[in-house]
Symmetry: C3
Subunit: 103 residues, 3 copies
């Protein structure tokens, strides 16, 4: 199982990204954070922006389709899409994630 | 060292989960998020719910006891309990986590 | 690529940590969370404190310099600095992180 993180610039867009992936069974669930402040370099200066993180739970098998989906629907040119491996977990929860992302 | 994530449906329950694990030395510390919006499938539709994430810091050795503890005290049927490996870290902080989870 | 997490006790300090690392090209970007509640053991009792998480995105190559920088500028004796490996990600985003942390 993987956790997959993306960010976007409104709560509404974050909700649409979460719902779209769960509806398509590309993630079992997703959690939308409270607002975060992103800090990055832009044209030589440091910019800050309010964003929302979306953390998807999916299987390793589903990752490529989830990434392709997010790149298709996200309105950033280069959205953050990064995945971290889950190395331990509750058996019933891992089974639920696998079941929800199948079919 | 691992980070271990669970979620629950009130700030009070999140605080109780955090405090219980730290008191029992099953985690060195825990961080309770601001509210997050969870999106998941339920009986054919997409549901959303407000939840709180609890992120525990513990050792690989303590993981099984922490998971067993959380499954015993959490009031969800299938709570999210997932762990991610810490691959680099500040030496003194890693030593503190090990010390706090011993004894 | 790694995600590197630290925490501090004010939004202003979190912003300074984020900005300093991005300015020095030790991270491509950083996200500062909404406030979190930290739970930990202190002198035999359980304490809670409001903190802010800062999540840096950097390369494996840059980790040591980022850690050294954070340890030098953070005002905690033993700040949390922990890193997690990114195992999958969008190619253009990973390339952007590498580019922003070079030079």
């Amino acid at each position: 199982m993987l956790t997959v993180l993306t960010t976007t610039d409104s709560a509404e867009k974050a909700a649409a990204l979460a719902r779209g992936a769960v509806e398509a069974r590309l993630a079992a669930c997703a959690q939308i954070s409270s607002p975060v402040t992103s800090v990055y370099r832009w044209q030589g200066g440091i910019e800050t922006a309010q964003e929302w993180q979306v953390l998807f739970k999916t299987t390793n098998e589903r990752y490529e389709r989830l990434e392709a989906h997010l790149r298709a629907v996200h309105d950033y040119d280069t959205p953050e899409i990064i995945a971290v491996q889950v190395v331990r977990g509750s058996g019933p929860y891992l089974a639920w994630v696998a079941e929800e992302t199948t079919g």
